[in-house]
């Protein structure tokens, strides 16, 4: 080895150990595999959800659609909190962390910020993300860190056996609320939009096509993406979303959101969404309004008032529930901006340890 190649031998490893480890794994195991099948994402772990739980359906949908993203399994990390839904990472052949109650968005933030090369996902429940972890969720959203959050909303605490949750309707009778719950629920989509989210979508566990479509857009979004997935807990809150699942009532009460399409829904497109007199939105009968007045869905509006107004159309009992992508706008991501600051600092300043150890004011004692 010629000494000229190593002018700056500071006793440091040649490459960043992270890059070196990844390179070493490629050297021994071959190039990254991005052409994968659903089964490649399965693990040998026995899935422990109750038979019939909506979580199975979501797991299958995710495993089936992931190969289409072309992301190598080792470049994906799924971080979850605590709850039935948060068992998700064990069943995915990716890197994963089943962490502590409510903190997954914060853990994912640290990971995504320090490893922008990864695809980082959060799986969380309505209790996990909106009760104990509410603070982390809103801050992840406002920072716009590049993570994709899947919020499994079954409107109940499943794992702790059926207490009401922050999304349960008022008056919910559970073991902890025998005379009915008193507090008003969050609408997770409204909350996310209020927290400056750049991507917010909603999908139904049983609607493979709709779910996959929203998930794909969320995965492709750069920044924090939140997808609220309505998930049936057949043990403690069975049928919570039947109104939207039933073929008849489903069409009547769901509003499909398709970017660039007029918001017309219901049997024979009998209902539609128009602007109200206060800058919000309201439901109207299609044959009672001028076709030009029907709102054409625009998920890319920078101003979030429209997406927020959309989210307010639905009521607690799920009538008039928009399904699909509410909002998808581009904003610089936190992790990218931080990397840029580091690049600027590296270009402007030196990284000479001896110089910062000495600081500005030194004196020398001679022998």
């Amino acid at each position: 080895m010629s000494t000229t190649e190593h002018v700056h031998d500071l006793g440091m490893p040649a490459a960043n150990p992270i890059d070196a480890a990844i390179a070493a794994s490629v050297a021994t195991q071959g190039d990254k595999q991005t052409e994968l099948k659903a089964k490649d994402f399965k693990t040998d772990q026995e899935v422990r959800w109750c038979p019939g739980c909506g979580d199975y359906v979501i797991l299958n949908a995710v495993q089936s659609f992931l190969p289409s993203l072309g992301i190598a399994r080792e470049d994906m990390v799924i971080v979850s909190g605590i709850g039935c839904s948060s068992r998700f990472p064990y069943y995915m052949n990716t890197y994963g962390m089943h962490s502590i109650h409510g903190r997954a968005p914060a853990i994912a933030t640290g990971l995504a910020v320090s490893r922008p090369d990864l695809s980082v996902w959060v799986v969380t429940g309505d209790g996990d993300s909106l009760s104990i972890g509410g603070n982390h969720l809103i801050h992840a959203l406002r920072r716009n860190v590049n993570i994709t959050i899947l919020l499994f909303n079954n409107r109940i605490y499943g794992l702790t056996k059926g207490q009401y949750s922050p999304t349960s309707e008022v008056g919910k009778v559970t073991k902890s609320t025998p005379m009915g719950s008193l507090d008003h629920p969050f609408n997770p989509v409204s909350l996310a939009i209020g927290a400056e989210a750049t991507f917010v979508g909603r999908a139904m566990d049983s609607d493979r096509k709709g779910l996959t479509d929203v998930l794909r857009q969320a995965a492709e979004h750069e920044g924090t993406a939140l997808v609220e997935i309505y998930q049936n807990c057949n043990i403690f809150n069975d049928g919570a979303f039947d109104l939207l699942k039933d073929p008849t009532t489903g069409t009547q009460w769901s509003i499909p959101l398709v970017h660039g399409e007029p918001l017309v829904f219901g049997p024979d497109g009998a209902a539609c969404v128009v602007r109200d007199d206060f800058g919000g939105l309201r439901i109207a009968e299609t044959n009672q309004v001028d076709a030009a007045d029907i709102v054409v869905h625009d998920a890319h509006r920078q101003d979030s008032s429209y997406a927020y107004a959309l989210s307010r159309l639905s009521s607690q009992d799920l009538r008039y529930t928009p399904m699909g992508v509410f909002r998808s706008v581009q904003k610089p991501t936190y992790d990218r901006m931080m990397s840029e600051q580091l690049d600027v600092a590296a270009a402007e300043g030196s990284a000479d340890l001896d110089s910062i150890l000495a600081g500005n004011d030194t004196w020398t004692v001679s022998a």
Binding site: T43, H98, R103, T109, G110, S114, L342, T362
Partner: protein, 649 residues
């Protein structure tokens, strides 16, 4: 003054024909006290820098209120800065000041009791107005009523002299008045023969964008210096020769600075990118500030939404192969408990800094205490052991940070480093190390890149037989996908396991891993010059200085005592029990109600005598000397004549 044998040298002639004498001292303790708005911390820091560059040994004690601007002129608003400097090696900021500078009646009232009779008292006469006196309950002006007769009181109009010096500066009265701290600094710089160029350069740098303010401060500083030279109020100036120090390059450093630099160095010496997740809290915030300045080293600092997110984000970063760090104080550690246990369960490296302050609850945010030891040891659910280390002096925070990182990386565990408010803000001269001589931590970072199982699978909990550390496989590494989490892990595979035998085994294994760290830390460091002391004093953390100073006094009185100071609180050095067993009596001074004593008694069945104080301030050397003396004398039965409680260090 407490100087031994003050040598009066030939007088020097000042302009105006005034003959001034120079007295040589071996050490001085100065306390600057004023309103929190008077800039006493800045003045103290400048005097410290001058003193450091002059080559004295020194130790400082800043003491300030938690409020940013407590009501002006009130007792709660008093801020002070004590500096001890000497021509020899010293260990504490001094028990009591020799000189007290009080910028207003409140500062006088709050500090006078600490100034021994005969001490030098310098007052800003301008501030002793009826209104200011009334604010702190002085019925008459102490400058005039004779109540200060027991001290050498010099009352000078510092404010009006500053205004006069800045008459042509173009600054308004309010603005000009703010330079009175620099006038005072100038006067003190003359009194103690301090070099002045550093302060001039500092002021120029500090007020780069406000040249008129820079000029005014420099003018006030010079006016104060000249005033000393020409006034009759001060007939004597003092010389404190540089202290002999090992040859080398030195700087003055505070504990928080040293800790931050230690972390930067740990990142560089391990080759890992640093990720710091932190939520602001006194007295730890300065570490976040300092690391945020060093982005050019690839350091990512993340101001989280709370302490939980601070540690959680650091855990996420560690999972990704960064050196995850979180910094906080006691209340923040409380919030981090659950996440700490997650890091213990997932066996990821993590450095957790607790700069302790007075507790419980919000407690005394700006005051020092050592009361988080048991929280660090046990403040989690389940059997959740983790290593705990503590620095002993401001400069030692550097080495402690590197040691904490070494343990975290080698053993794949969270480590708690317990600093405290006194170390954080206090400062001392520090021999600047050469980066190439620092520990090489690259060996502790061996990311797993190949399956380790017999069937070609990756076993995330298959341990290193020596350290019991598990492999660290980071996302992005093909073929190593695995899932970790807070649920109990099956041995080797890391799969979820509720098996009773496995839980028992894993619980014991996690404990054994932490206990095993003792093999890497060397034997107990005992300072027992003749090796025949029967009494040992044992301490940890920032009490090192006061205990050491107390021990010196005791030894000067002819008594024998051993000093043991622990860097590692968990695990203890392997031979500690045997070492303690050698002594008839063991005394343990702590700034809590006996937390280390409790651990030592429990672990070694040694009858440790706990001596405690929780005043928010470091121990006084004299007090500790008296305690140690009592124990020695009651042990040997022999009364020695000399009283160890007086005198210098």
């Amino acid at each position: 003054m407490t100087a031994t044998d003050p040598a009066v040298s030939a007088g020097s002639s000042a302009p105006g024909g005034l003959v001034k004498s120079v007295v040589e001292l071996d050490r001085v303790v100065i306390r600057l006290a004023g309103d929190s708005g008077d800039g006493m911390q800045l003045t103290g820091n400048r005097f410290t820098s001058e003193t450091a560059s002059f080559g004295n040994d020194l130790s400082t004690l800043p003491n300030f209120p938690a409020e940013i601007r407590a009501p002006t002129g009130t007792l709660p608003g008093v801020s002070s800065f004590q500096l001890h400097f000497a021509d020899h090696d010293i260990m504490t900021p001094g028990d009591a000041p020799d000189v007290l500078v009080a910028m207003n009646p409140a500062a006088l009232k709050a500090n006078l009791a600490d100034l021994p009779g005969g001490g030098l008292l310098i007052l800003d006469a301008d501030e002793f107005t009826a209104r200011n006196l009334a604010k702190v309950g002085y019925a008459t002006n102490p400058i005039e009523d004779g109540s200060l007769e027991g001290w050498q009181t010099v009352s000078v109009p510092l404010t009006s002299m500053t205004l006069e010096a800045l008459a042509d500066s173009g600054l308004g009265k309010k603005e000009a008045e703010r330079s009175k701290n620099m006038f005072t600094l100038g006067l003190l710089s003359w009194m103690y023969h301090r070099p002045t160029e550093g302060t001039v350069r500092f002021l120029e740098r500090q007020f780069r964008r406000k040249p008129d303010i820079a000029a005014a401060n420099i003018a006030a500083f010079r006016a104060g210096y000249n005033y000393g030279e020409t006034t009759e109020a001060f007939a004597v100036s003092y010389e404190i020769k540089p202290a002999p120090m090992a040859p080398g390059k030195y700087r003055n450093i505070s504990g928080n600075q040293a800790l931050s630099l230690g972390l930067v160095a740990a990142g560089q010496r391990s080759g890992l990118p640093i990720f710091l997740g932190a939520y602001p809290i006194t007295p730890a915030s300065d570490i976040l500030h300092e690391l945020s300045k060093h982005k050019s080293f690839g350091i990512r600092t993340f101001q989280a939404e709370d302490e939980i997110a601070g540690i959680a984000s650091a855990i996420g970063a560690s999972f990704g192969g960064a050196l995850g760090i979180t910094t906080t104080s006691g209340p923040g550690i409380s919030l981090k408990s659950e996440a700490l246990a997650l890091a213990i369960m997932t066996e990821l490296p993590l450095v957790v800094i607790d700069v302790q302050r007075g507790g419980p609850s919000t407690g005394l945010p700006t005051k020092t205490e050592q009361s988080d030891l048991l929280q660090a040891m046990f403040g989690r659910n389940g059997e959740a052991p983790l290593p705990v280390v503590a620095p002993r002096s401001p400069g030692d925070c550097f080495d402690a940070a590197i040691e904490a990182t070494r343990i975290a990386l080698t053993y794949r565990t969270p480590v708690i480093l317990l600093s405290d408010g006194y170390l954080a803000n206090g400062s001392e001269p520090w021999a600047v190390p050469n980066s190439a001589d620092l520990p090489d931590l690259t060996g502790a970072v061996d990311f797993a890149t190949e399956p380790n199982g017999e069937d070609g699978e990756f076993l995330p909990y298959l341990r290193d037989p020596e350290t019991l550390a598990r492999p660290w496989a980071i996302p992005g590494t093909a073929g190593m996908q695995h899932r970790i989490g807070g649920l109990e892990k099956a041995d080797k595979t890391g799969n979820i396991s509720y098996d009773p035998e496995n839980h028992d085994f894993m619980t014991r294994t996690r404990q054994a891993k932490i206990d095993g760290i003792a093999a890497s830390i060397g034997p107990t460091d005992v300072d027992d010059p003749d090796g025949d002391a029967t009494v040992a004093v044992i301490g940890w953390g920032s009490t090192y200085g006061p205990i050491g100073a107390g021990v010196r006094r005791v030894r000067r009185s002819g008594r024998k005592v051993a000093q043991i100071h622990l860097r590692h609180l968990n695990p203890f050095p392997a031979d500690l029990g045997e070492v303690l067993g050698r002594y008839e009596r063991v005394v343990c001074p702590e700034m809590n109600l006996g937390q280390l004593a409790l651990l030592l008694r429990a672990k070694y069945l040694v009858d440790v005598q706990s001596h405690t104080q929780v005043r928010g301030l470091p121990f006084r050397a004299a007090e500790l000397a008296a305690v140690i003396q009592d124990v020695i004398d009651s042990t040997s039965g022999a009364e020695l004549a000399a009283d160890p409680t007086g005198g210098g260090e």
